[in-house]
């Protein structure tokens, strides 16, 4: 175990009493509670943490936050392996294991770093110009290589074992970021009584304030942070969420947030989710997201050891880590001076502050007083070193070299870019502020306001004041009565920092703009030369800003370089589009608990448990589970079971759960008229106590749905729909009743789950039911003729019996209230023992209905008309109805459209397949000669062969002819005879039995 060689002896918000053991690339290290992986590695003197995307250059950590482009690792192992995890955001826990990525065989020796040698060829857009010779080599060879060397970490291949959750938030004021501006905003809004949610990405509050030695309200900054967080936590109307990032600003003033509930501890997290995805609806939003420091573009500026100045300060201050023994500083603004002072205070050597400004101001004196050397009008030329910085070369702005400084860390500040990411997502345009050399948000277009550094305000007093005002304004806008007397937290004034533009420090080497994607200054020039003049073209051609950090530290430098190439100013060039997420979000978090079998809810019928007891094999029908078939033992195959079930229905009797059919109760004096307008056939004259099969069209004339509807009373109908269209039909009825014919007095509601149903079909159906219901109802032809409906009482429950048949047998459907379903099933099943009753599933149901030529889902594919189905005669000529006018269009009324027929194989040993096409000449089977297709097939016991339904051009006029069913996917051709779609008992004698 190596010692923490770069750990400072004191300082930092770490718990030295709690050492933690972790590993990186299988090497064991120690850190402390409160560390991040990045800080702990630095503490152990590890600078090399990753390899870049294209050139596989050695990279160390650049930042101390979520904007990190370089230090990406694979965190955890096995099914929990998480690629591309920013070491700066990984809170250390005991036993943490991380692995470097995008390198082979090891981080310090990476074969792919030969890419650097070819670097001169691998410039922006190189792949568009190459890999074309010979052309067949692209997929077989080049692409494989590109893909393998691209990508970053490796994803897990096993199912993610962790849980994720969702949550929904509501507030008056949502505050983004808990820096000084955000804290002040939360405080003023919270004190005024508004419901506030304060969200902070980091585990701690305070933002950049943690790095400042200023005093607020006469307290040291860190003490003030503590006091404020205590007060906020005590306010009942305020919710403080740390370790939570707001990743997207959406319509309706809704923000998406990701809470890292358990990412900072070792798994598993019993019963708790790993992460929680929040949808927060805010009346008003205060954005106080701070600013990101950006690097300076100079030769080899990507060497491990080159870090942002604020990051260096963070490592020293928050983590008690020396990022280097000797830290040279380069800057174009005041920020790096604070870093120098901090380093100095921690006893770390600062050989030089190289300041690009000619006249930096007062801080120079202060630095020199401390004995720190300051060079003005001084720029970096090159960072040197192999796997990490060893030297820094300095130059004047004219390109003349000054000297070589030995150092193992370079702290860089190229100024700050206000974090306008979220606000830009809302549609606000970022506008250039020449004073700070950064983009700030234009006027809000949503219920939102920015405060603090994200708006370009960099002095502490300003941030506090703006935050305070924004909190009050937001609360007020949310309708809260705000006290006028509230005062903002006070801080002393700070000097205005000046800044000078250094977009590219002169040099001829590789100078990186976008670190992760290896976009150099030269790439941007090249893209421009090739015509990529628009910033969006430049981005796409060079991939600037397209890496996992989305260019947080690189975009402004990049577009400034493009502006230089175009000879135009930065605002003319503009920014690329900001898009969610602000920082990448795990896919699992979006899915939440909707995974695996819980992807969608499952709907069960009242008799589900009875089916389970009978060993049913279930099938998904929409959200329902229905019995597909009931194998009698382990040996019976599905095919055998289906055949047996269908056979038994015809021979004796079968029972089937038909509860999933949509059921709608329709009431009202105008119910009859209403149904008349919905169905193509008449329902107004349907006698009470009778059922009728009905067909509905869509407005465009195609068939929508079918089902039997019964009249229970003058003003009360009971409608059924197909399982698939139950919801659609109800919505359609809502539309018709509320929008189209509001004058009709009609009311309806779903009764699908109030009633469950069993179909009992077969020659012994009546016998079984008589026994099952103990004679509670007379089912004789005289009392209950075909299409009759009766109500009766069974064990105290209202039951309804319908003399309808889908199978063509003597059949009844009995509906009872849900709670009686299982009992009814059991009663019928028990009564059936004496009559050889079998339960049958959807498959046998399918065979039986095909034998009778009844259309179902397969025939109702949204492109068919009533005529196509052979149901044209049902279209009433006595009344208008939905779909009639447009069904008369020439192409829909065309007699030559494929229409419903039956098919039988000429050789009865052959099977038929759904999806086969029909042709006259098997030797001339083409797309053009296809005359139709097979919709449904079944192995029919009654017919003794496979049978099928099909749509065939001019089919009804071709009964008796022989054609071919071709299925090229399996190279099958079957000769078939065209027949009437009703294969069995064409006269319907059994039905009336």
């Amino acid at each position: 175990m190596s010692s923490q060689s770069n750990r400072l002896t004191k300082g930092g918000h770490i718990n030295r009493a709690n050492p933690l053991t972790f590993s990186f690339d299988n090497k064991i290290y120690q850190g402390f509670e409160g560390d991040t992986l990045a800080s702990a590695l630095l503490a152990n003197g590890v600078r090399l943490m990753g390899r870049s995307f294209k050139y596989h250059r050695a990279r160390g950590v650049l930042t101390a936050g979520s904007e990190e482009p370089n230090a990406l690792v694979e965190l955890r192992q096995g099914a929990r392996r998480e690629p591309n995890t920013r070491a700066t955001m990984i809170e250390l826990f005991d036993g943490l294991a991380a692995t470097s990525q995008n390198r082979f065989p090891s981080l310090s020796f990476d074969f792919m770093s030969v890419n650097q040698l070819f670097g001169r060829f691998l410039v922006a857009g190189f792949y568009y110009k190459t890999f074309m010779w010979p052309s067949s080599f692209w997929e077989s060879f080049y692409e494989k290589i590109i893909r393998r060397s691209a990508g970053l970490g490796r994803a897990a291949v096993e199912s993610d074992p962790d849980q994720y959750d969702h949550s929904h938030g509501h507030c008056d004021v949502l505050v983004v970021g808990a820096g000084p501006a955000g804290l002040a905003a939360a405080l003023s809004a919270g004190r005024s009584g508004a419901r506030v949610i304060l969200v902070e990405e980091n585990p701690w509050l305070g933002g950049a304030l943690n790095l400042q030695n200023d005093r607020i309200d006469d307290m040291p900054a860190t003490q003030w942070i503590e006091a404020v967080s205590k007060e906020l936590n005590a306010l009942e109307n305020v919710r403080v969420m740390s370790r939570t990032v707001l990743f997207g600003y959406y319509d309706g003033n809704v923000m998406g947030a990701l809470e890292r509930v358990n990412d900072h501890v070792a798994p598993p997290y019993s019963d708790q989710p790993r992460q929680r995805l929040w949808t927060i609806r805010a009346k008003e939003i205060v954005i106080a997201a701070g600013a990101h420091e950006r690097p300076i573009v100079f030769d080899n500026n990507d060497k491990p050891g080159v870090m942002l100045s604020s990051a260096v300060r963070t490592y020293v201050d928050r983590f008690g880590v020396a990022p280097g023994k000797t830290v040279a500083i380069i800057t174009n603004n005041d920020d790096a001076y604070l870093t120098a002072f901090q380093l100095h205070a921690a006893g770390i050597e600062v050989p030089v502050i190289a300041d690009a400004r000619v006249n930096p101001g007062d801080l120079v004196e202060k630095a020199r007083e401390l004995g720190i050397r300051v060079e003005t009008d001084c720029l970096p030329h090159e960072a040197q070193g192999y796997l990490g910085v060893t030297n820094l070369l300095l130059q004047r702005s004219d390109g003349s070299l000054i000297e070589k400084i030995a150092c193992d860390c370079i702290a860089v500040s190229g100024g700050y870019s206000p974090n306008v990411h979220l606000v830009s997502q809302s549609g606000v345009r970022p506008v250039w502020d020449e004073k700070i050399l950064g983009f700030i948000p234009d006027t809000p277009i949503r219920a939102e306001r920015s405060a603090g550094a994200c708006k370009g305000t960099y002095d502490l007093a300003g941030c506090l004041g703006e935050g305070h005002e924004a909190g009050l304004a937001a609360a007020k806008a949310a309708g809260i009565a705000v006290a006028k007397s509230a005062v903002a937290p006070q801080a002393g004034p700070q000097p205005q920092s000046s800044i000078v533009a250094v977009w590219r420090s002169p040099g001829k080497g590789k100078a990186f703009v976008d670190f992760q994607n290896d976009v150099t200054a030269a790439d941007i020039d090249l893209a421009h030369r090739e015509g990529m003049v628009s910033i969006e073209h430049s981005k796409r051609y060079t991939t600037l800003g397209m890496a996992t950090d989305q260019g947080k530290t690189s975009n402004v430098n990049g577009l400034a370089l493009l502006a230089r190439a175009r000879g135009e100013d930065i605002p003319t060039v503009g920014t690329t589009r900001y898009r969610p997420p602000y920082s990448p979000v795990a896919i699992g978090a979006f899915a939440g608990h909707e995974r695996g079998v819980h992807f969608q809810p499952t709907r069960l019928t009242a008799m589900h448990r009875a089916h389970e007891r009978l060993g049913a094999v279930f099938v998904e029908v929409g959200q329902w589970l229905r019995p597909r078939y009931y194998p009698i033992n382990d040996k019976e195959t599905m095919t055998q079971a289906i055949w047996r079930e269908a056979d038994m229905v015809r021979k004796t009797v079968g029972m089937c759960d038909v509860s999933t059919l949509g059921k709608i109760e329709v009431f009202g004096p105008d119910a009859a008229e209403f149904l008349n307008r919905l169905y193509i056939n008449g329902f107004a004259k349907l006698p009470v106590g009778k059922a009728r099969y009905g067909l509905m069209l869509r407005e465009d004339g195609h068939v929508f749905d079918d089902g039997t509807t019964s009249r229970l009373a003058e003003d009360h109908y009971f409608m059924t729909t197909t399982t698939a269209n139950a919801a659609g039909v109800l919505s359609h009825m809502d539309y018709c009743a509320q929008v189209v014919w509001p004058e009709l007095d009609v009311a309806f509601c779903s009764a699908t789950e109030q009633w469950c149903g069993v179909a009992v079909a077969g020659p012994r159906a009546r016998d079984v039911l008589t026994a099952a219901f103990d004679g509670a109802i007379d089912m004789s032809n005289e009392v209950l003729a075909f299409m009759g409906v009766k109500e009766f009482t069974w064990n105290g429950a209202t039951a309804r019996i319908f003399r309808i048949s889908f199978s063509g047998e003597l059949a009844f459907e009995v509906n009872v209230p849900w709670g009686y379903g299982e009992a009814m099933w059991e009663s019928i099943y028990a009564a059936g023992k004496d009559f050889d009753l079998i339960p049958y599933g959807t498959e046998a149901l399918g065979v039986l209905r095909i034998e009778k030529g009844h259309v179902a889902g397969n025939e109702l594919d949204g492109r068919t008309t009533a005529q196509d189905m052979g149901l044209g005669r049902m279209m009433s000529s006595k009344k208008p109805y939905i779909g009639l006018p447009l069904s008369q269009r020439e192409g829909m009324a065309d007699e030559m459209r494929p229409r419903l027929v039956g098919l039988k194989p000429v050789d009865t040993k052959n099977r038929l397949r759904g999806g086969a096409h029909l042709v006259d000449d098997k030797n001339n089977a083409t797309h053009e000669t296809s005359l139709g297709w097979v919709t449904s097939v079944g192995d029919s016991p009654a017919i003794g062969s496979w049978i099928g339904l099909a749509y065939l051009k001019d089919g009804p006029n071709r009964h008796g002819e022989r054609i071919f069913a071709v299925y090229p996917l399996k190279d099958e051709v079957v000769e078939v005879e065209i027949c009437d779609p009703v294969f069995f008992d064409a006269k319907g004698e059994r039905l009336h039995g």
């Binding site: 929904h168 809810p601 709907r603 069960l604 789950e753 109030q754 849900w818 059991e826």
Partner: protein, 194 residues
């Protein structure tokens, strides 16, 4: 005939009655056997029906009587709940009460009712409920139809502790129960039957 057995959507879970004294953050109770009926007013008869039944026709405001609770569903439509009468007698009673002013659809068997209470109620509900259930917005008596975990839910705030009744379609009861017990697990959950 085998012993006659009326099931309710969650009866297969074998939950037992009675609240325990555990420190669970969430208490979930199946409320089987309620009488439920959907009442419709004929055109222009909303006020008449409301008056006959003594219930509010205002959106989102439940009316609780000694014998039944009425939750308005949409203009001229309510769902009514009673502890007895699931055999259809509640529906018939209501039919009689409103006379020619409207219609009543028997729905006693169509739904499962789940009562949720305990200190962490809002934490659990906010996982899937998109509505703002803060007491400043949703007072006692608040009721709404919404969607949770992909399932349509009719919810009703019973008391200030707070306690909510969640009513879902019978076919979805299993799925919904699975979700809500899972969602409650992290807070400690106690399951029972009313």
């Amino acid at each position: 005939m085998a012993e006659f057995n009326i099931v309710t959507p969650l009866s297969h879970l074998g939950l037992v009655a009675g609240k325990g004294t555990s420190s669970a953050g969430v208490l979930l109770a199946d409320r089987p056997g309620l009488a439920i009926a959907q009442v419709f007013a004929k055109k222009g008869k909303t006020a008449a029906v409301a008056k006959k039944l003594g219930i509010s026709a205002e959106p989102c405001v439940a009316t609780s009587h000694e014998n039944y609770t009425a939750l308005p569903l949409s203009p001229g439509q309510w769902m009514l709940f009673a502890t007895t009468g699931a055999d259809g007698s509640f529906q018939r009673l209501l039919e009689k009460q409103i006379g020619k002013n409207g219609y009543v659809s028997e729905q006693s068997h169509s739904r499962a009712a789940i009562r949720i209470s305990g200190a962490k109620v809002l934490d659990v509900l906010s996982k899937e409920c998109r509505l703002d259930l803060h007491s400043s917005v949703a007072d006692v008596g608040f009721c709404a139809q919404t969607t949770m975990s992909g399932v349509g839910v009719l919810m009703h705030k019973i008391d200030d502790s707070p306690t909510f009744d969640l009513v879902v379609f019978a076919g979805f009861a299993d799925s919904f129960w699975h979700w809500i017990t899972q969602a409650s697990a992290e807070y400690g959950v106690e399951l029972s039957r009313d």
